[in-house]
Assembly symmetry: C2
Homo-oligomer: 412 residues x 2
Amino acid sequence: MTDAAIISIGNELISGHVLNSNSSYIADILNRYGIRVRLIITVGDDSKQIIDVLENLNQHIKIVLITGGLGPTHDDLTVPALAEFFRTKLIFKKEIADNIATRFTLRGLEMPEVNLKQAYIPQNAQILNNPVGSAPGLKIEHDGRIYYVMPGVPAEMQAIMEKVILPEFDSIGKQNILKKIIHVTGLPESQIYTLLKDWIKQHPSIEVAFLPQTTHIDVALTISDHDEIAQLDDYIKHITAILGRNIYGYDDDNLESVIARLLFEKHLTLAVAESCTGGLIASRLTDIPGSSAYFKSGIIAYSNSTKIKLLGVKREIIANFGAVSSEVAGQMAEQVRAISGCDIGLSSTGIAGPSGGSEEKPVGLVWIGISDKNGSRSFSHNFAGNRLTNKLRFSQAALNHLRLALIEDFSK
Amino acid sequence: MTDAAIISIGNELISGHVLNSNSSYIADILNRYGIRVRLIITVGDDSKQIIDVLENLNQHIKIVLITGGLGPTHDDLTVPALAEFFRTKLIFKKEIADNIATRFTLRGLEMPEVNLKQAYIPQNAQILNNPVGSAPGLKIEHDGRIYYVMPGVPAEMQAIMEKVILPEFDSIGKQNILKKIIHVTGLPESQIYTLLKDWIKQHPSIEVAFLPQTTHIDVALTISDHDEIAQLDDYIKHITAILGRNIYGYDDDNLESVIARLLFEKHLTLAVAESCTGGLIASRLTDIPGSSAYFKSGIIAYSNSTKIKLLGVKREIIANFGAVSSEVAGQMAEQVRAISGCDIGLSSTGIAGPSGGSEEKPVGLVWIGISDKNGSRSFSHNFAGNRLTNKLRFSQAALNHLRLALIEDFSK
């Protein structure tokens, strides 16, 4: 298996100002291609440090993917550092300059002179076409190793990876490695591990990782053994039998895409009434292309008077039970279903925090309501996060109850 | 200035399954403390690789922060790797085991036996209390260097950083380094750079970085010179005069927190009517603690019939101009303001994609409507992202128009 390293360059990364999402993207793709990422290194826009890292890479690394520092500004130093590392000089490429000028013209802008800097590349580099930005990618073969250099802007890096670099990897020797992710919600990590422990022991050649996320746990299987790959379906069946409905999806699935499939299949429509989640449930549902086919309306009732006026929740129910209650969650779901004429109403009312909690109803408490042809019911959960993680977990709980209702109530 | 390195350990990181947000968080804090992060290294749960990285750290690195691989499962190998690197043995700590058992009891669960593994630590390590999870942090002093080891779960790592490690840094020698971030929207990076170029040249001791984000550009100033720090206010005034209202905030500000401040100050209330953003505008507004003081209601009108029935948009206006039009955006804003009784109505209607575009109204087109005491008006923008980045940029455009309206229409 070919070993690779990823080097991310940028003061914004080393200062913590920006998340290094590029290296995750690249690592994920390389893994799928059977290229094993051994190391991800992040350094600042600092020639000496860049060269130091390049010089200290272990011999067994055969592919190096470098991102960042190709921009037009004074702190973009990757290209001169590479020239120094390879002991070569920078040469001007008119084709790059022309391409940049054209991009500005198309947007009705004049090219600032600083962009010309991007037309200089190391003499031993090949240009990799950048379909969506001004800085080209570079490819350098040196001493039995291939270096790919890409801009740090994610859309540009991804375009060069997909259009130019990945097709080359097919020839480098893509191997048959299978990675399967199982998404689990509602069980703690150590319980999932305990449930799966025997199975893991029986399959030592399968790499099993437990990946806790804010809203769920991912169980990742990496299988490189040919015979094991052939049995994947049986393995998944076995694990599904153990973890049951706590598994909501696999691989690229997320809860909203799983729900989308269920609603499509069953030709059902949905409306939401949100209080504490403030639009997040609707926003997640509408992240899915084509969601307008099943998602029709949402009412965000962030005040009691909106719950009464827009949703028609009864004033005395709020007075008697409080806005965060089983009764209000149920009514919100019922009412938004009635008002919208949809098949299902889903609601949330809770306390995201940091303030607004009481001993009886602490921050982190949420009631989820569901209304459908079988009537309405509510469910409560207690979470212990900050405002943003609570909102996320509230929305996850709501969507998960919706998923279970779709499976259980609409099974035919 | 003290030099530091961050080592993140986890197969989920090296495989690209999970974003390495921990290292950004740690790097950001260290920078504020005047500790310079030179290197962020990510490796898998692989003892040999962990030890290799530790052995190859440059001598000038005096602080090493390690996260991940402290969990209870079979792929958590950080602690034994550390013991091997330090040539010491693992010892059982009853206090850790008791603490873990108590945590499970409080949640009404029995401790799975696998969690006992977390009670073994290298003999030369000190325990750092973990206020929110079962795996303790560790501190090891060795050969003129301090190693801090923390769990990979972000909430646990952050709690240990804030409660235990940061107070120690004060004594290590916190230095006076000032970092100022200026958030700019509505201008491309090279234009901002061109506008600021002369100023940058005049202040060579100030580090200026341009950080393109999905919805805006950040300009980051890092100032370590004492005399320059004293003049920061003048510098900011100067830069603000150059970039004008394209600057919407500084440092920890985001567009929603800036809007929150403006609405609080002016005692105004807000309602939103969303189509293409599907709840994202409301969700961003309600990310702010205390947002219920100004944000009252939202209507997500994802279908034409919802626009007509729930919002009261006139059927013939949709028929004549289309749902994505200046007229419909204006009516949505007007209607949600009237229905909710709020001071301001904000709306969005557009085409997030990937389908639904036409030559006349392409994917990426959005109309934003604002209605207030001065009447209603709409603004259009064209973006060229995928569905999710379009939704984000649509919501950013809407919130930015709201910000400008708050500054311009409600100036006293």
